[in-house]
């Protein structure tokens, strides 16, 4: 299964991005890693170009908060992305915040899976469960 991943915005924190790439590969995904410093348009363009079924965006400096608001609007301009599984993870707020407030907010932005300060493997387990569920539907 194809996954597009990368770090959103002007965030240049590369370590977790490399580890996400390695972990996804270990779970058998075909990974298209756009790396750090990636804009929303680039994510959607890559999803179209590769025919990916999953888009996994990460953020460490919390910039995702600002970019998240534009996801629905931008995604609507693309055809054939309705089935794309949208996941976001990392540190999803600037400063501090708790998951109870953050998760519903990002679901509202159009994400199926939201992992705020969740351990990488726990997050990827959730992704695999979500994919399995969707297949049985």
């Amino acid at each position: 299964m194809k996954v597009v991943t990368g770090v959103v915005g002007n965030d240049i924190h590369v370590v977790a991005n490399r580890l996400i790439d390695l972990s996804l590969q270990a779970r058998g995904f075909e990974v298209f890693n756009l790396g750090v410093n990636t804009y929303l348009e680039e994510f959607f363009d890559a999803a179209v170009e590769t025919g990916a079924e999953v888009l996994l965006i990460s953020s460490l400096n919390g910039e995702a908060e600002g970019w998240g608001r534009e996801v629905k609007l931008l995604k609507a301009r693309y055809k054939n992305l309705d089935e794309l599984i949208m996941m976001i993870g990392g540190n999803l707020t600037v400063g501090s915040g708790n998951a109870e407030d953050i998760v519903p907010k990002y679901k509202g932005y159009g994400f199926d899976l939201v992992c705020h300060q969740v351990d990488l493997n726990t997050g990827l387990d959730q992704l695999e469960e979500f994919i399995a569920q969707r297949k049985t539907q």
Binding site: I12, V14, V15, R18, L19, S23, A26, N37
Partner: protein
Amino acid sequence: MSLLQEEREIILSNEYVDTFDFAEVEEFVKNASKDLFISHHFKNANKMLVQPRGGFPTYEKQFALYEFFEKANVDVLPLTIDSNTRLNDYATSEKMLRLSEENDVDMLNGYPLVNHGYRTTRKMITHFNKPVSLRHGTPDARLLIEQAIASGIFEIEGGPITYLLPYSKNFPLDKAFLYWKYVERVCANYSELNEPINRESFGPLTATLVPPSITIVIQLLEMLLSLQEGVKSFSVSFSQQGSMVQDIVTGAVIKKLAKHYAQEIGCGDAAIHLVYHQWMGAFPTNREYADQLINMSTVIASMVGADKIITKTCEEAIGIPTKEANAKTVANTQYTLRILNGLPSVVDEEEEEILTLEVKAIMEAVFNDSADTLWRKVFNSIKNGIIDVPFSPHIINHNEMITIRDAGKNIRIINRGNVPIPERCYDFEKSKCDLSKDTTSIVNDIVHDIGIMQ
């Protein structure tokens, strides 16, 4: 007029430069005090030189920082440049400098040298009459280094690889090579007037599990690119890696091979120095622990036999350090160096042999590239993964090499990617690690290995 001089005139007729007087600057360098040249101190000092890090936006704050350093008995002063200047965005650094001056808050993470200009900055540098090292991170540093040398800053850090691969995603690497060629030539030309201008490479790279073979190869290549253009004084460097013996072995191999390759290209007359960076990875937030770590780094630097040490502060985990914390580290480091006597000499022949073989194999692969000049060979080697820097954000980097720590916390290569690590060395590296683990546990180990000092 030479092509280089034509290029210099174009670079310096910039709206942010207040008429650059070439003749006056040359005269200044020719008659400058020997004390301003770190190359002069390397020749004559019989101790490891201590240099902190630090840069503030305003002239007054930078001056105050230097006063603190002076009291702490500093050997080399730093001038760290702000991030807008590093990206050649002088308009933003100008605006932020004004805001910093008017409101007494720091709106920049360093000293915007181009906006201050060389006439102003020179007053500060000559006042303290100590060698100053330019710390930046700029892929296109042409204008910056002209202003720096004109100010009396006679050590320039950086290089086309080490100032690009750790910091940038998209800046074209081939352009960086050409911009740095300009830097080397300007440094070489000024070196003929007085003591040589020292160039220093930035060995820490991403400071994240970079194996010593990759660090050394990049240090050697930046040294060769610099000496080739006529630079006569060069410092190779690396940062604390997490294992004392690996640091000692790295120091021994880099010293031996720097001399060897400099001679190979007919530049054996250049002076080569070794610089050691205190721990550059994630720091403990606990200030007492941070001070312990810094102190241990100083001990290792002595074991390694470094000519200069670059210090950290106990506030490293928190943000830009205050001048007080910064000066405290300088004083503590000087104290540790003073009481460290009778160090034993440690040699690990097997590790030295393995590392030497690795470095030589990679260097040979670079030299064997079919391109016609060294910088093109190096460019191609990075592009095709013969040189691969773990955790570089740059799109040209291969990202195939995987490294972890063994039981002794040495950094080991468990996946060499396209890097030509000889079979015997590769087997040796892997034999030190538990390879029966699945990727998930290896990823957990990597997370742990990155944070070992926290």
